[in-house]
């Protein structure tokens, strides 16, 4: 929260409320509804909550059912308190800036509890999907959710054609070879080249990467400008950083590879390659 104090002058300038977003969150951002909700209750801050199956992994919010006023926060509760968690999207009135000093501050631990006690903090429930995509595994899950929402709202943006299965997003500048089967749940970035006979499922392939022929990828993130060789098998949340080269005929199972590495040996069990 400290950085908000840095931007104090800019934020307070016009006296209007301002949004604050955690960047490692993906959802169908309900900006208009959140702004309306905030004006209606007139409190100092509003945050978006979402329902999850395992709330103990997150910060849990307890609030009044009819008004949405937040009573208290419990961080990573050990017994079940509520299944609504802080989704990391906020809107604040400029008055909040008086609570925040220019020092490292956790908004959840230091600012919100005080606001909740004073009855100044309200929660709006999120509609649609939500995912914290800070970990590669969750990033891929979030990607699947996003593509599913895209299918419902803008199906024309998804890729279709022979060899395309399910929800697939392909940049117009990418090239896909013959006899490939791509999808479900694949995103392919700009300038990517996928050679013949490649099978890709549940992956993100970033800009400029090349996947050589006959390889098989499932649940992977292929970084910018990577080169994946022929007959390579990658699975189980293998993540390749920028400019990684994977030699032909290797097997990568859960490998996390730091940028600019060359991989010349298979990685049969998950590990980090520095």
């Amino acid at each position: 929260a400290g950085p908000l104090a840095l931007a104090r002058d800019l934020l307070a300038e016009d006296g209007e409320p301002f949004f604050v977003l955690n960047s490692d969150v993906i959802c169908e951002f309900p900006f208009a509804a959140l702004a309306r909700f905030h004006r209606q209750h007139g409190g100092e801050g509003s945050l978006v909550v979402t329902r999850v199956e395992e709330p103990a992994k997150y910060g849990v919010v307890v609030c009044e059912a009819d008004t949405g006023r937040i009573c208290r926060f419990v961080e990573k509760p050990r017994v079940f308190v509520s299944n609504k968690i802080n989704a990391g999207l906020y809107i604040f009135s400029p008055g909040i800036l008086q609570r925040i000093q220019l020092r490292p501050t956790s908004i959840e631990k230091e600012i919100f509890p005080a606001m909740a006690q004073e009855g100044q903090l309200y929660a709006m429930e999120l509609q649609g999907f939500w995912m914290d995509i800070g970990q590669p595994k969750d990033f891929l899950t979030g990607m699947c959710m996003y593509l599913q929402a895209l299918r419902a709202q803008h199906p024309e943006k998804l890729h279709s054609g022979p060899g395309v299965v399910g929800n697939v997003l392909v940049d117009p500048s990418a090239k896909i070879g013959a006899n490939c089967v791509i999808g479900p749940n694949v995103t392919i970035g700009a300038g990517v080249v996928v050679e013949d006979g490649v099978r890709i499922k549940r992956c993100t392939v970033l800009k400029g990467a090349r996947i050589r022929s006959h390889s098989w990828l499932e649940s992977c993130i292929v970084g910018w400008s990577c080169s994946v060789g022929q007959w390579v098998r990658m699975e189980n949340v293998t993540v390749l950083g920028e400019d990684v080269i994977v030699n032909d005929e290797l097997y990568l199972n859960g490998a996390n590879v730091l940028p600019h590495k060359s991989i010349a040996e298979s990685v049969p069990e998950p590990r980090i390659i520095m």
Partner: protein, 421 residues
């Protein structure tokens, strides 16, 4: 001049399972032809060879009979199978059938173990005996191993000038010699006298003990422990040392290694058996054997060290390396098969990866031999060649790593480091 090839029986060669469930181990194809055909070809080439006898305790078997018929036709030499009534050991069998071996006035005969892979320097052994011994000397073919691995074999200590064997120990626990027994011998009829002595000794010992298996045990004679150990230092036994390639074939992994050795030899002895790159055909790297009836897409990449059997189909964009694909098997598009033996009539689905771990000897040590590794170490399956038994089905897009799949299994998911019953 005759040759006896010891082919063992079903109780022997258990390390070769599950492959030995389908076909007797001596008939398993190595570099495209049955293991024992390499022996027969080498024997048939020796001038003066009158007859080849296969000896073992397999029951009469259709595959074996058919093989004998076709081998006789191809090599134009009488070949017979002598069936031992029980497992009589490496010496007991030839002793039991000594009349057959000696019939027709045999002056000398070779004895070869079927489960070795070798250059078979038989002519050289004959010449060596003329130079170093006399008409009554026996010769063991020896080769050099490294100090640690030599303990797994029969060790030979020989006089540096005369090559006479002074001492012989089978699988010692401490270092004795780096020269090891290759399992290929040259004998004269006099050997039966020495084997007979062992037989007499066995019988006498049994009279002293009380045992219900007495009659069978006396006839079980091991050439190595019982005969060579006694003959060492007597001036009758010599060793001919070879630098040519040699390996035991005990496990499936060693079959792939032996294939590589024989495929290498083909460039000199059978260049027609090595596949060549040609337009419309698959891409060939290194030494590859492809049976004429196999059908292979031109975008497949095969080799090095690959044998493709009869009627095999290999789809588009398939990669096969260091593997044996047995007859009738089918590899679908984009599969990757490495360090694997694919069993008869098996199927591997699209994009599947079937991979084993090679157990090759250390390439930096010229005398290193392939390890006869144990199946388990520290409670876990040792990474080794992946073996698919006969009629196994591997579904599309899975990975099978370091696993052994027993015959007729239809898998439904990936497996690693497992034996699948």
């Amino acid at each position: 001049l005759k040759a006896v090839i010891l082919i063992g029986g079903p109780q022997k060669g258990t390390r070769f399972r599950p492959l030995s469930f389908e076909v007797p181990k001596p008939l398993f194809p190595v570099a495209g032809v049955p293991m024992v055909q390499h022996h027969i070809e080498a024997c048939a080439k020796v001038p003066g060879m009158k007859e080849i006898l296969l000896m073992g305790f397999y029951q009469p078997h259709e595959a074996l009979s058919r093989f004998l018929v076709s081998a006789q036709q191809e090599f134009k030499i009488p070949i017979r199978y002598l069936q031992e009534y029980a497992a009589l050991g490496t010496g007991g069998g030839i002793y039991h059938f000594r009349d057959q071996i000696l019939s027709g006035g045999t002056e000398a005969f070779f004895v070869l173990n079927a489960d070795v892979c070798s250059e078979f320097p038989l002519q050289e052994m004959l010449e060596f005996r003329q130079q170093h011994g006399d008409a009554h000397s026996f010769v063991i073919l020896g080769t050099t191993a490294n100090r640690t691995q030599a303990l797994n074999y029969g060790c030979i200590v020989a006089n540096a000038d005369t090559q006479e064997v002074q001492h012989y120990v089978e699988k010692p626990s401490t270092f004795v010699s780096e020269i090891i027994n290759c399992g290929i011998y040259l004998f004269t009829p006099a050997i039966f006298q020495h084997i007979g002595d062992v037989f007499q000794r066995n019988q006498q010992e049994l009279v002293l003990e009380e045992s219900s298996n007495g009659w069978q045990r006396a006839e079980v004679i091991r050439l190595e422990q019982d005969v060579f150990t006694a003959l060492a230092g007597s001036g009758k036994l010599y060793v001919y040392k070879t630098d040519g390639f040699w390996s035991q074939i005990k496990s499936a992994g060693s079959a792939i290694y032996a294939s590589r050795l024989y495929l290498n030899q083909y460039s000199k002895t059978h260049p027609e058996r090595l596949a060549q790159n040609k337009s419309g055909g698959p891409i060939i790297r290194g030494n590859v054997y492809i049976h004429p009836t196999a059908s292979i897409y031109s975008t497949a990449v095969l080799g090095p060290n690959v044998s493709i059997g009869e009627g095999v189909t290999v789809g588009a964009g398939v990669r096969v390396r260091e593997s044996i694909v047995l007859h009738g098997a089918s590899l679908h598009d984009h599969t990757c098969v490495l360090n694997t033996i694919v069993g008869w009539d098996s199927t591997i689905g699209r994009w599947a990866r079937v991979e084993g771990t090679p157990s090759d000897p250390n390439p930096n040590d010229p005398y290193a031999k392939i390890d006869s590794e144990t199946l388990f170490r520290d409670g876990r399956l040792t990474p080794s060649i992946t073996i698919l038994g006969c009629s196994v089905t591997i579904p599309a897009e899975v990975v099978i790593l370091n696993s052994i799949v027993l015959p007729h299994k239809e898998l439904s998911r990936s497996y690693k480091n497992q034996i699948i019953l």
